[in-house]
Subunit: 177 residues, 2 copies
DNA sequence: TTTGCCATGTCAGCAGTCTGACACCATGGC
DNA sequence: GCCATGGTGTCAGACTGCTGACATGGCAAA
């Protein structure tokens, strides 16, 4: 993506700020009395990881003309065909209005199909077309490399634990719990 | 935030999808041949955690009329007074154009100050005003509770490890490494 | 010194997302 | 049967963030 430029030798960028946190966890610096250093760093680092992931995914998907939301949508449909727009919205963590636009874009490109009339209630079950499944496979190839980069950075032993902790974080921060 | 409604008894929401992943990690389901189940789940769970964090922070900051970007900006300025707009942008993981708008908003509200003319080069060093520091303290009170929720969910022993792994993830996914 | 390069600030345009609002359908209890 | 509740789809408006582009100010190498 390279949205932030090169930052070759800048003297106070994100990395150096985070490094300062890590290098001096015990120093009684001026801000330690205000916020637990490690505590604050956790939300900061999580934001950082999320932003980096988003950027990496967007960059990887750019050649395929797919946004991250569109990919997430295809991914969900590949796993669970027939999901409605609202269900897809919850699965991709966006509002159902946004998912509606995403879905419309995918529909215009012939990657998904939705019935004109609802077979039950108002929900319109969405399914991948052959082209949609093909696009999903192509997307998986590139996103897989992003995942691999992440996985390679974490020792094998800790992966399951790491994933579990992350899931627990997501759970306790969920909008309504 | 409650942007997703209540989803009381929906039969296929985000939680159940994630649960299906977790419950049957060894089953030779149809998708296992395509993507490592755990691998995919990691990016998915990270997105989930990020979205939840963003939502929780936004909800907590709403009463103070502060966006997450504005809070991040104040936070960075509290730690490192005199940062320029571009440096703040990198620290908050947004483009410098976006940070410029954020900064202008904070400036109009009298929370930060920037000199009219650059004392060195083009960078305009930004500093918190007394009101800005006050707003930062108020914001820290509410965001602290969000952090606490997250911290409480992770066993004490694993926190440092968890944070480190997350930082490593962010590092390997960085736009240019 | 001069030239090329990098970083910064800023303007304009665009895409994506959210909130608010409304209408429709199903299911429940009364 | 009737109505209250909740889920769903959709429209309109607004906001935020990003990309592209340009001009300006240091810095280092030629």
């Amino acid at each position: 993506m390279a949205k932030h430029g090169k930052k070759s030798k800048s003297h106070s960028d994100a990395k150096s700020l985070a490094a300062a946190e890590q290098d001096a966890p015990n120093k009684s610096d001026a801000r330690a009395h205000q916020i637990g250093v490690l505590d604050e760093a956790l939300t900061y680092v999580l934001r950082h990881a999320a932003a980096s992931l988003r950027g990496a995914m967007a960059e990887a998907l750019r050649p395929l003309d797919l946004s991250t939301a569109q990919h997430a949508c295809l991914e969900l449909l590949g796993r669970s065909p027939g999901l409605s727009s609202s269900e897809l919205a919850r699965g991709a963590f966006v509002s159902r209005q946004s998912m509606n636009l995403v879905l419309r874009g995918l529909q215009d490109r012939g990657l998904v199909t939705r019935p004109e009339i609802a077979p039950q209630g108002r929900a319109l079950p969405t399914k991948l077309t052959a082209e949609g499944r093909e696009a999903l496979n192509s997307a998986n190839v590139v996103t897989r490399s992003v995942e691999k980069r992440m996985l390679a950075a974490i020792p094998d032993k800790r992966r399951a634990r790491f994933r579990t902790d992350l899931a627990v974080c997501a759970a306790v921060l969920a909008p309504d719990d």
